[in-house]
């Protein structure tokens, strides 16, 4: 177990090293920091002196080492726009994003497993065909479109009246296809502070309503993928000899589906899922923009617009770190679920 952790830690460091080199190269090549710092009127000789003083004329490797030495202490410099340490800015925006991702992940897990399993057990049922059809549509619709449609339907509301409103059933049908709106779709509302800069939307019912639409639209990208993945895996597992043998033992279908088959189905799903959850963090850029959700994604887009390079670099590093952490966690969970994986590397 410890050997496994050390090995994983080494991998993680390697990945972080590569990310940091790329991030630093961006910083080094994206525009001239001096131009950002001083006005137009400053003569070239003074600029050169400033460059020398800031060490910008040093070789790449030297500059990188200086950057790395600061980075390991979580010091990525000052944000040009906010004029405070970039890590503070990130920390302020991190909880909002993490909560959004957590809510979306919860939705994905809570929906994809029952739907995937159902459509594998009853592949010919019309409900399964319906889910498969919808999931194909879901995969092909971009997240910002989903978000805008959700806002129109549930935040603004629509009232359609293609049916004659003067008859009872016409009015009823019109009501049925119209939506009321009123769901919050802008920002986080008033989240409850937990500690430090961490404020949570999970603590109040009102906070939760702010999460609903952004979480649904963020989940909409991954949900169809997970349903299809679980269904495909489950279909294969149900063909296996050990499922047939369980049937031959007289085990009840429920136990066969939800213990024998599901446990085996989840193995590859966990692997793919872990990576995809990391990707969700990246997708928050779109969702947060549409919903003006004050998280890291929105902050990142702002930082790009204002060429706040230190903040961009910090974002890249932090998201890279989140990726590395989730992947390591996924490997750990996988090792715990799958008995054929020995975390210790001891021969079986």
């Amino acid at each position: 177990m410890i050997a496994f952790l050390i090995k994983r830690l080494f991998h993680a460091l390697l990945v972080m090293f590569v990310i940091s080199v790329i991030a630093f190269a961006i910083q080094d090549n994206l525009g001239d920091p001096i131009q950002q710092m001083v006005g137009q009127s400053v003569p070239e000789s003074e600029r050169e002196a400033l460059r020398e003083e800031l060490g910008l004329n040093d070789p790449f490797a030297v500059q990188y080492l200086r950057f790395a030495a600061n980075a390991v202490q979580f010091d990525f410099g000052y944000s040009y726009v906010f004029n405070e340490p970039t890590t503070d800015v990130i920390l302020r925006h991190l909880p909002a994003t993490l909560e959004l991702v957590a809510a979306a992940t919860f939705l994905i897990i809570a929906l994809s497993i029952p739907i995937g399993v159902y459509s594998a057990i009853k592949p010919r049922a019309w409900l399964s065909r319906f889910f498969m059809g919808v999931s194909i549509i879901g995969i092909s619709i971009p997240v910002f479109l989903t978000a805008i449609v959700l806002i129109q339907l549930f935040a603004i509301g629509v009232s359609w009246s293609p049916f004659p409103a003067d008859t009872g059933w016409g009015a009823w049908l019109n009501d049925l296809i119209s939506t009321e709106g009123g769901m919050p779709a802008y920002g986080r509302g008033e989240p409850v502070p937990v500690f430090g800069t961490w404020e949570t939307n999970f603590a109040s019912l009102e906070g939760l309503t702010y999460l609903v639409l952004p979480a649904i639209s963020l989940a909409s990208i991954m949900l169809p993928l997970f349903i299809r993945l679980i269904r495909a895996e489950m279909l294969e597992v149900l063909q296996s000899d050990y499922v047939k043998f369980a049937r031959a033992k007289g085990i009840s279908p429920r136990r066969i589906y939800f213990l024998h088959a599901l446990k085996n189905t989840m193995l590859p799903v966990i692997t793919v899922g872990g990576v995809q959850i990391g990707t969700l963090v990246a997708y928050t850029i779109l969702t947060e923009t549409v919903f003006q959700w004050p998280g890291m994604g929105l902050m990142f887009l702002d930082a790009i617009e204002r060429s706040d390079i230190p903040l961009i670099v910090t974002y890249l590093m932090i998201v890279g770190l989140i990726f590395v952490i989730t992947n390591t966690l996924v490997d750990l969970i996988y090792g715990l679920v799958n008995p054929t994986v020995k975390l210790t590397g001891k021969p079986a």
Binding site: D241, Y242, K244, F245, A248, G250, R255, L259, N264, P339
Partner: protein, 339 residues
């Protein structure tokens, strides 16, 4: 009346092109404690026959007709709940590949205990005690430790022993073993087979043994069926069939055994291969490969081309063959003329 009576069993696979008849008119019976062998080439329908007994054939396969009577109950048309009470409890199965038969993510103990719990009201502690006793019966080294191990920690031979232990857990009346030793090392095969035979004899369990191996059949079983293209073509006491096969196909099978060949020459074989089930030859399905379609005098037995042969009895055996029928007829007529 026998413990198990299968008559006119008809199993089909509903494919897009139409139904493929995997089993036709299969009849056999099994008495308590009796051991029956089912032999035939791959694709003859042996495994389908085994799986359809407990209605375990996978879709698109289905039982199209016939009757399976077990201990006075009709199994065809029985509810899944009813069948579940019989599966693993009164009739249990042993599969071909022990590497694939046990669930890789559940411990041996879990897979044994769940089987007991499915059929009896029993606590985990008692169930583990019974499981342990069964593991001891199949002579697994350090059985106690095995209960908490996962299948991948055991060798193929040990896993097949575990599967035999599971099959015996609830003291069944019949074990259906579908090529139980095919996937094992040759050295292990004999051990496992001997163990299975010993346990069945000791506990008076009936055995339906499906295999390619005529040697095993002759050692283990009392009666045997020979199947070809979804039909039973010969059945009777194992010893008589092995010593004096009636059907040309059975003769061919026995003749193809390595020990039947002259040393230094090629092994004997039956020419051709088994027809595909969706394109069976007319008449006797074996006639394109059969050397007896032409009589010794050079004339053709037209019936082989035209009619599906029925069973004729010769001694204690039955064979479905026009040639055998003709021979019996010829022997009987002179006998009647003498009267």
């Amino acid at each position: 009346m026998s413990l198990l009576d299968v008559s006119n069993l008809d199993v089909r696979f509903a494919l897009r092109r139409g139904d493929v008849k995997a089993l036709r008119d299969v009849c056999f019976s099994l008495d308590r404690g009796e051991r029956l062998g089912i032999v035939g080439e791959s694709g003859a329908g042996k495994s389908v026959a085994a799986f359809s007994l407990l209605n375990l054939i996978a879709k698109p396969g289905y039982i199209a007709g016939g009757s399976i009577r077990f201990d006075g109950q009709e199994l065809i048309g029985m509810s899944d709940r009813g069948l579940r009470k019989i599966r693993g409890h009164r009739i249990s199965m042993i599969f071909q590949d022990p590497m694939m038969t046990l669930n890789p993510v559940l411990t041996i103990g879990e897979q044994m205990v769940e089987c007991l719990k499915a059929h009896r009201r029993i606590g985990t502690r008692d169930a583990r005690a019974i499981s342990l006793r069964k593991l001891e019966q199949v002579q697994i080294p350090s059985p106690e430790a095995r209960l908490d191990q996962y299948p991948h920690e055991l060798s193929g031979g040990m896993r097949q022993r575990v599967i035999i232990a599971i099959a015996l857990l609830l003291d069944p009346d019949i074990i259906i073993a579908d090529e139980p030793t095919t996937a094992l090392d040759v050295t292990i095969q004999a051990e496992i087979m001997a163990l299975l035979l010993e346990l069945c004899e000791e506990q008076n369990v009936g055995l339906i043994l499906i295999t390619h191996d005529l040697g095993v059949v002759s050692q283990v079983t009392q009666r045997m069926l020979v199947m070809y293209a979804g039909r039973v073509i010969e059945q009777g006491p194992t010893r008589e069939i092995i010593n004096d096969p009636q059907h040309p196909y059975t003769q061919g099978l026995i003749n193809a055994l390595p020990q039947m060949a002259t040393p230094g020459s090629r092994l004997n074989q039956i020419p051709g291969s088994m027809p595909s089930l969706n394109n069976l030859p007319s008449g006797c399905a074996f006639h394109p490969r059969c050397g007896f379609v032409t009589r010794p005098d050079g004339s053709t037995r037209q019936a082989c081309h035209d009619e599906v042969p029925g069973f004729v009895t010769s001694g204690n055996c039955q064979a479905a063959c026009h040639m055998v029928a003709e021979m019996i007829e010829r022997e009987r007529i002179p006998a009647e003329e003498q009267d």
